[in-house]
Amino acid sequence: MDTHALAWPMEGNSRVPYRVFSDPGIYRTELDRLFLGRTWQFLVLANELPDPGDYKTTFLGETPIVVARGEDGELHAMLNRCAHRGNLVCLKRQGHTDDGLTCVYHSWNYDLAGNLKSVAFRRGIAGKGGMPESFKLEDHGLRKLRTDHFAGLVFGTLSEDAPPLAEYIGNEIGGRLGRVMRAKPKILGTTSQILHNNWKLYVENVKDTYHATLLHTFFTTFRVSRLTAGGGVAVSESGGNHTSYTRGKTDTLGAAASDKLYANIQSMKDGVQLADPRLLDATEEFGDDITVQILSVFPNFVLQQIHNSVAVRLVLPKGPNETELQWIYLGFEDDDAAMTERRLLQSNLVGPAGYVSMEDGAVGNFVQRAIVGSEDECSVIEMGGFDHVSDNTRTTEASIRGFWHAYRPLMGY
């Protein structure tokens, strides 16, 4: 099975063989060509590591990375693997150091840019042992990443020939990204979910403007969002990046017609009222009438604005059938106490226990379980047609087709 070469269906981006969600060989190729290859991946917030010596660890795919603020004030990203015998240089998820990065195994010491500065007992002891003359410190630094910034977010890549980050993101998506990251962010808290499904099933879900108001009946029941509301989806030229947006206060059909429509498709419950409506007491903060905006950058970055709930989501593969979904909930430096409280209450909408997101934690696993034995069958992605262009409707799977459009050439399919 994992040695069997994949022939992509001639239908193209509107058909995806289920094998890509479970095949161990395909997964290993993804780690190599996507995550260690020509893609930009989110590392940290630019203001998360303010002082020289601050560091944080993360991953490119499954490969451990450390990001550190150097003495030069710059952020440096490197593989978190010692050049000596491969130990993790930084053991803590986040921390601060005053003397560079020292590997605990044999005390090799690196500066905050990953350059090897000293090797314990390099000259031996009392004239015996030590490193050979041929050993040069400069040949044994930590492997470095390219980093680039956009709207207060730091991305990294191991690829020399990936385009500049702004170009990679594209103008339209870049603008949407900047819209949300409107000021210096402030972390309100973090959480993480272990999803028992392939990482791409979650990414499809994020890009899937079609499912939101059908799977998440809370949306429709409480009129938080409906497909009948105004809105649309934007897809980058590469296909890999997208934004969906909703103008929740409008309804293209009117409430009654909309209710009727949803009643027919049975994801609507009647007569449900919140006993404490403060949960949905949102305020306009982005200078437009967009109430919900979901944005993704290929392959695994997500930025969410649901009313006043703003969060970065990072999708980390942990095997063919397992994924970690990391959440960083944000406020902005200009938030007053009332705004912070508002964001905290609205955080009930998202995350592992979110009223409009908990289903997303499970549905990928439902698919993962359902496709066993159907590896050569395909999903059918025809909502909104066959292309992956921007349009002012969310009743489409265009941004999912866009994902596969970006995925296939990198994987050679």
Binding site: T190, Q193, T217, A275, D276, E324, Y355, G361
Partner: protein, 160 residues
């Protein structure tokens, strides 16, 4: 306070935590908000957030009515696979009682069982609570569920 009064209060508090566990483990969610005061605060968070002083809650409620809404959403709106919890609560430790407010910390472990029978340790951590007397018993004026882990397996539907 006499020894007997101490012992009696202790029995009441143990009973509160036992009833709370049975309520959640036996799917009597509609009764769950009644363990709280009307102006209660309830938060589920990770030890990481808790110790960093970050205010986020995975679940964040500032009134009993919000707990009622949570139950209603679980019953009427949210979709999740059948599952059940089994709570074990221990090391229940009442602190000082100040102006009718009693602080209590306790340890808990929750085993979650899915409909196919798979069991996992879903949660381990501590309760950091504030209790007030209401008639014969006690209610939670504030409850913080501090999870040792920063990760949630799949989703968190049923409260902790």
């Amino acid at each position: 306070m006499t020894d007997l009064a101490h012992l009696t209060r202790r029995m009441e508090i143990d009973a509160l935590y036992a009833d709370y566990a049975h309520c959640l483990d036996n799917d009597a969610l509609e009764e769950w908000p009644e363990f709280f005061t009307e102006d209660c605060r309830y938060r589920i968070t990770s030890a990481e957030n808790f110790e960093a002083g970050l205010p986020l809650g995975i679940v964040y409620a500032t009134s009993q009515a919000m707990l009622v809404d949570r139950v209603m959403a679980l019953r009427k709106a949210n979709i999740y696979e059948p599952q059940r919890y089994r709570h074990l609560v221990g090391a229940i430790k009442p602190g000082a009682e100040e102006e009718g407010m009693l602080s209590v910390v306790a340890n808990f472990i929750v085993v979650r069982t899915m409909q196919d029978g798979a069991m996992t340790i879903f949660a381990a951590g501590r309760y950091v609570d504030r209790l007030v007397r209401r008639g014969a018993g006690w209610k939670f004026a504030a409850k913080e569920v501090v999870l040792d882990s920063r990760q949630i397996d799949t989703l968190l539907a049923i409260p902790l």
